[in-house]
């Protein structure tokens, strides 16, 4: 493979490459001019190459070549004219002649192609400069991976699947895939950049505009390329059309997907500053959000599935196209097919779960009435925004419909009080704890890792580019249901415990879950715990009303054993409340203007945060040194307090 060689060699910088290409091109042009300026060059130069050159120039799609192709016609006409007329060639005729010659001479063709690639790379560089600016490391890595993957698969496609025999056909396919790959890479870059930009609330509008503009340009070009597919398919049969069109459609669908997500994001972020203060515009947006939820969901679903299905069909087509069942190519395609079918299955399962939750929500939990909403002055606990409409759970906690929906898709309890909702989705029933691979969220950009997969080796990912950069990366998902069952030996205890606790709580709704759980850990039997409660041995702690508070988040996880419930009398948020009220008299020099302000300007926010950090560190340092000097040795005998954030009275 020449590819490896290229990667191993230190590539020349873009500048030198451009210079070399231009020099080569001008050399060959000069050469062509020299040759054609001789009166009877046609008779001694062309005949052997003529057929090849015309065969190749007839079909070439690459932009540079189409122009050449157009130029051929006058040239060939010229060839048939008597030499008398050629005595005084006009400039245009001469250019046409030169071009004709260059297309016929193999050496010149290569320099032309080289120049075309050079232009493509320069164009890419220009777009990168204008739209993206400096690429981030992860973006570079993605593009590199994607590039080598693309090259690898297309190599397999051209030589393994279609089994091209003639050089000119190879040239055509290479030209086609170059343009396609170029657009694919751009689309990938746009996606990465969009995901990155969506992590910031303060992205300037123009960078959004440029990105969206580029996305639409890609969309337009992919539509144009689809037209080319149709044209080629018209002459060359359905199979060629299908092979070419699949990639175009994929590109279109992926671009559309990014555009859709982008529009949704911009829509969400519209006026987010004003939204947080809860004014009228914000409210209108929240209401609109409720309505557009399902529409956006289905649009995404359709696009995602469309991309997967087209890809699947494309690969099936490749597999069935020629007798390659026992070749290396078929192996690679089969692996890809397997991956795609799993992806599709996963998407369908996720969708089933979505439908199930939606259905369950609508049937079991009513929308909160106007009075209930009025009584409840709190914001939605999930998104912290005001509720205009809300759904009510049996524990009378209120949430936005869409917020609750997305939470219940992954867990079946009330977010606030943990009341287990008596719902068992078809999927959770099958797999015990909800299969988290179902909930894989579309990966964020670097740094933001979505907790998508359980540590168990569910997911086999082969990243060939780690070893040799041209190797592809595969992801194969292995669903070992049996393994899952085997896993559920000892650990089941807790889910059993949970289930038992739920049983008990249905009988005694006034008992808080943690108390029941504690007792169940000791008794290991629903009956005995129920007896304990009936006999009054188990009492709901005072001050902790039914489902009012989340259990203290203090509990620290331990690995091998069952965790003792940390028995803390007061929830930490309560103590935090009291602290925020007690004025910060502690650190003697903390200027009050830093703590109580949330600036509108991002740079000022950053500056203030930095200052606050500095001050905290300095205050701590001074306090520590003071103490070292023994000037205030008052805390030596301090008992460890749970609410360690008690106001600092030292300084």
């Amino acid at each position: 493979m020449p590819v490896i060689l290229v990667d191993r060699l230190p590539l020349p910088s873009l500048k030198t490459y451009t210079v070399i290409s231009v020099a080569l091109l001008s050399c060959s042009v000069y050469y062509a001019v020299q040759v054609t300026s001789e009166a009877n060059w046609k008779t001694n130069a062309t005949t052997p190459h003529e057929t090849v050159a015309q065969a190749s120039s007839g079909k070439i799609q690459d932009h540079a070549f189409t122009r050449v192709q157009q130029a051929i016609e006058p040239g060939t006409i010229q060839a048939e004219l008597p030499p008398l007329l050629k005595a005084k060639p006009t400039l245009s005729v001469q250019i046409a002649e030169v071009v004709t010659y260059m297309v016929q001479e193999p050496l010149c063709i290569w320099t032309l192609m080289n120049m075309a690639y050079c232009c493509l790379i320069l164009l890419g560089k220009l777009i990168q400069r204008v739209v993206f600016g400096q690429l981030r490391v992860s973006e570079q890595q993605h593009v590199k991976d994607k590039f080598w993957n693309f090259v690898f698969y297309k190599f397999i496609f051209v030589f393994g699947v279609i089994n091209v025999q003639y050089l000119d056909e190879v040239v055509l396919w290479v030209a086609w895939f170059s343009v396609l790959g170029f657009l694919h890479l751009l689309a990938q870059l746009c996606k990465d950049r969009f995901e990155y930009l969506s992590f910031s609330p303060t992205t300037p509008g123009w960078s959004h505009a440029r990105l969206v503009g580029l996305l639409f340009a890609i969309l337009l070009l992919s539509g144009f390329m689809f037209l080319i597919c149709i044209a080629v398919g018209f002459f060359d049969g359905f199979n060629t059309f299908a092979f070419m069109a699949a990639e175009c459609v994929l590109l279109t669908v992926r671009t559309l997907h990014v555009i859709l997500r982008y529009i949704l994001h911009l829509y969400d972020m519209r006026g987010s500053d004003s939204g947080s203060s809860g004014n009228h515009e914000g409210l209108a947006r929240v209401v609109a959000w409720e309505k557009r939820g399902p529409v956006a969901y289905y649009a995404e679903l359709v696009l995602e599935l469309a991309a997967l299905l087209v890809d699947l069909l494309h690969h099936l087509h490749m597999l069935l196209w020629s007798n390659i069942f026992l070749s290396m190519a078929s192996l690679v395609i089969c692996m890809q097919l397997r991956f795609l079918t799993h992806e599709i299955q996963r998407r369908f399962k996720k969708h089933r779960n979505y439908l199930w939750v939606l259905n369950h929500l609508e049937q079991n939990y009513p929308m909160a009435s106007a009075e209930e909403l009025a009584q409840n002055s709190d914001n939605c606990a999930i998104c912290w925004e005001k509720m205009e409409t809300a759904r009510k759970l049996p524990c009378s906690h209120l949430f936005h419909n869409s917020c609750l929906q997305s939470w219940l898709e992954q867990d079946t309890s009330c977010p606030t009080c943990r009341l287990a909702l008596s719902m068992q989705s078809p999927i959770t029933r099958d797999h015990g704890p909800l299969d988290h691979t179902l909930l894989a969220v579309d990966g964020g950009a670097d740094g933001v890792q979505v907790a998508r997969r359980p540590p168990a080796n569910h997911f086999f990912h082969f990243d060939g580019s780690r070893y040799v950069s041209w190797l592809p990366s595969f992801s194969v998902e292995v669903t070992h249901t049996q393994l899952l069952r085997a896993d559920q030996g000892p650990p089941v205890q807790t889910s059993q415990l949970d289930a038992m606790a739920r049983q008990v709580q249905q009988l005694f709704p006034h008992m808080p879950m943690p108390v029941i759980m504690d007792d169940l850990r000791l008794t290991r039997s629903v009956e005995i715990t129920i007896e304990n409660i009936l006999d009054g041995r188990l009492v709901a702690p005072p001050g902790r009303r039914f489902h009012e508070e989340p259990s203290g988040p203090i509990a620290i996880s331990s690995v091998p054993t069952v965790l003792p419930q940390s028995a803390q009398p007061s929830a930490p948020d309560a103590s935090a409340q009291s602290i925020t009220h007690s004025d910060s008299t502690a650190t003697d020099e903390e200027p009050s203007n830093l703590g109580g302000r949330f600036s509108k300007s991002p740079s000022e926010r950053e500056r203030i945060l930095h200052l606050r950090k500095e001050q905290l560190l300095q205050a701590a340092r001074r306090r520590y040194l003071d103490k070292q000097e023994g000037s205030k040795p008052s805390f030596d005998s301090c008992v460890v307090d749970e609410n360690v954030i008690a106001p600092d009275t030292m300084a």
Binding site: L264, G444, V450, A451, M517, S557, G596, D641, V644
Partner: protein
């Protein structure tokens, strides 16, 4: 989607700036990426970590608050519930679905009503009261149980380091 996560993070940042809990500061490292925060946590009074200011990095998923963030101390730490690389092992940071060990009841796990503030407060009390049965750092757990004096000495060293006094 990132949009709703972003709004929620903005709200939390605002709240943490306007009403900061004592000894805790948290905010995005860079406003260009609101999903990576740095938090400074003051070691709780009356414990071996007293006086130290411990920096930690919080990384939020794009579906926050449906999934919990990840937290990792960026300074040297020696604590039974903190892995050697600084990752914090605490039940509030575990999603309800994923239960690698199968020992936690879902009641203590992550839920969207939790927040950065609650996580940080939990971590403060974890610093005060290690769970010595945890396997996050077995050496630290063992030392905490058996050789408290040595543990305190190491903690003291770490405290000095975080203050830049070493």
């Amino acid at each position: 989607m990132a949009g709703s996560a972003l709004r929620r993070l903005m709200a939390e940042y605002k709240q943490l700036t306007l009403n900061p809990p004592e000894g805790i500061i948290a905010g995005p490292i860079n406003e260009e990426n609101f999903f990576e925060w740095e938090a400074l946590i003051t070691g709780p009074e009356g414990t071996c970590f007293e006086g130290g200011v411990f920096p930690a990095k919080l990384v939020f998923p794009s579906d926050y608050p449906l999934s919990p963030p990840k937290m990792q101390f960026t300074c040297e730490m020696f604590h039974p519930n903190i892995y050697a690389d600084g990752r914090v092992c605490i039940s509030i940071l575990h999603a309800p679905g994923d239960d690698p060990m199968g020992y936690e009841s879902s009641a203590e796990r992550w839920s969207p009503v939790q927040s950065v503030e609650k996580i940080l407060l939990s971590v403060v009390s974890m610093l005060a009261e290690p769970n010595d049965e945890s396997g996050a750092n077995v050496d630290a757990a063992k030392m905490w149980r058996e050789d408290r004096a040595e543990f305190n000495r190491i903690a003291e060293k770490i405290v000095r380091k975080t203050l830049g006094l070493s």
